[in-house]
């Protein structure tokens, strides 16, 4: 109910963050508790542990809700800034904010706010001209698919020539997070971006830290669109643990269609590509050990059929271990260029386990 949200109490943010971290650790312990359960034959013990597990799941769900905040809360300050900018630049424009009901993680709001403020300012400063027909407009749409928060800022203004700009920069797209500092400087020069570049670089680092993306699109004299995607952090999601070589990896369950034994299908090769036939589909087979340059000794036995963006691939791994709840931490900056890794998680045994980035892997193949 929308009214529930307006009852705001003062909560010490730090304590809240600590609470959330502790809940995350609880999740990891769920795996341990499951293990301990299997060691008891006595029903009373199992019942108690089951109760605990149930309570933990409920706490998880509740905390998720606690940490969520509607984007609405930043809309106001954005609108204020926008109006101020317009006055300063002496333009008239409309500010539309779609998707204000979208709930996002509390910790993300500050990032979103910073980015939006930054970009909106530039639009106000440079994009708008005194249009006689039609009105200047900035539309911010925010929506979440449970995994990512996508924010699109679209403005109709001067814009720039997308293809030319790309050519000049020798890039295929304007995915700014992959640009180097100098490239960004050049880009900003080309499109007459006047905001402080150092500030942008800070924002860029933040986005990279969040494992997000920022894309520019534009059509000259028509519109400029900036798409910002931020993964909703601290997602507790389910994953499948597999072994490749002597290492363990986690694959988010959301991408897995089915898991089959390698011996159940025939592998055919054509043009140096291996493929399998499964349920009347021909699916490309990828040996993950080769993908990751890991030495294996034993014959791989397990195939996971994964799907992302309508593309399907069969991943061949050494063996299937377990299903687990995991908290994916974004990967360290030092691993930025390893696209196959989405992030890291810490399993019940305390060891760091790498989480595979299925969409990236599928794009690569």
């Amino acid at each position: 109910m929308s009214n529930d949200f307006l009852e705001i109490s003062n909560v010490n943010k730090k304590s809240l963050d600590e609470l959330v971290s502790l809940v995350e650790e609880l999740v990891i312990n769920k795996v341990r508790i499951e293990k301990i359960k299997s060691e008891f034959s006595d029903n009373t013990h199992i019942k108690i542990l089951d109760q605990e597990l149930r309570i933990i799941s409920e706490i998880q769900a509740s905390i998720k809700k606690v940490k969520l905040i509607k984007i609405k809360t930043i809309a106001n300050s954005l609108t204020d800034l926008f109006n101020q900018c317009c006055i300063e630049n002496n333009v008239k424009a409309d500010f539309i904010f779609e998707g204000q009901e979208t709930e996002i993680d509390n910790s993300l709001t500050i990032y979103i706010k910073n980015i939006l403020l930054y970009l909106i300012k530039d639009i106000c400063d440079n994009e708008f001209v005194n249009l006689k027909n039609g009105s200047n407009q900035i539309k911010v749409s925010a929506y979440s698919d449970g995994r990512n928060l996508t924010t699109v800022i679209q403005s109709n203004g001067i814009g720039f020539n997308y293809e030319d700009t790309c050519k000049k920069l020798n890039k295929e797209n304007l995915d700014l997070l992959s640009f180097s500092g100098d490239e960004i400087k050049e880009f900003f020069k080309i499109i007459n971006f006047t905001n402080n570049i150092e500030d942008f670089i800070k924002l860029k680092l933040d986005l990279i830290y969040l494992d997000g993306s920022l894309k520019f699109e534009s059509k000259a004299n028509e519109f400029r669109r900036i798409t910002i995607v931020i993964p909703l952090s601290s997602s507790i999601m389910q994953g499948i643990l597999v072994t490749i070589g002597d290492q363990t990896f986690a694959i988010p369950l959301d991408f897995i269609e089915t898991i089959i034994n390698k011996n159940a299908v025939k592998i055919k090769t054509s043009h140096n590509t291996e493929m399998i036939i499964y349920m009347d589909h021909i699916i490309q087979l990828v040996r993950v050990s080769e993908l990751l340059n890991i030495e294996t000794v034993l014959e791989p036995t397990c195939i996971l059929i994964v799907k992302s963006n309508n593309k399907r691939v069969a991943l061949l791994v050494d063996s299937l271990l377990d299903q687990t709840d995991m908290v994916i931490k974004p990967k360290h900056s030092i691993m930025m260029d390893i696209v196959e890794i989405k992030g890291t998680t810490i399993l019940g045994d305390g060891l760091v386990t790498l989480v595979l980035d299925i969409p990236s892997i599928l794009k690569e193949i």
Binding site: H332, I334, M335, L351, V352
Partner: protein, 129 residues
């Protein structure tokens, strides 16, 4: 200022203690496929996942991966790194003026303490990682 001295490849190095988060004994490392050569792997420390750096390779030396015993966890910006070293000596107090720069780069400085020459790692050097 205070520095933390440690041993690597038989030589003495040091690092500004303000860069140091904590030190600990070596623990099992998860290797990262396709990672940079000097990244030995990842560890988990106090809830964070921290990459372990082969400090010897960074300092343009021979690889001594199998002889390091301790990690120095340092703060770089808002991220942490762990330097793998052979052993950790002590915390020393030194005068700013005893630090000399060699070839005027900010890559590394030399500090002379009790007639020992210790190579002091600089922030800039570490940032390169």
């Amino acid at each position: 200022m205070q520095i933390l001295t440690f041993l690597l490849r038989g030589e003495q190095f040091a690092i500004d203690i303000t860069l140091v988060d904590t030190i600990q004994n070596k623990m099992p490392i998860t290797p990262v496929p396709k990672s940079k050569k000097y990244v030995i792997g990842l560890i988990s420390n106090r809830g964070s996942v921290i990459p372990i750096i082969n400090t010897s390779l960074i300092l343009n030396g021979k690889d001594t991966t199998n002889t390091f015993e301790k990690f120095i966890i340092i703060n770089l910006g808002n991220e942490k790194l762990a330097l793998a070293v052979n052993d950790i000596d002590d915390v020393l107090e030194i005068e700013q003026k005893t630090i000399e720069n060699i070839n005027n780069e900010e890559d590394f400085s030399i500090v002379k303490v009790n007639s020992n020459i210790i190579t002091l790692l600089t922030y800039k050097q570490l940032q390169k990682i």
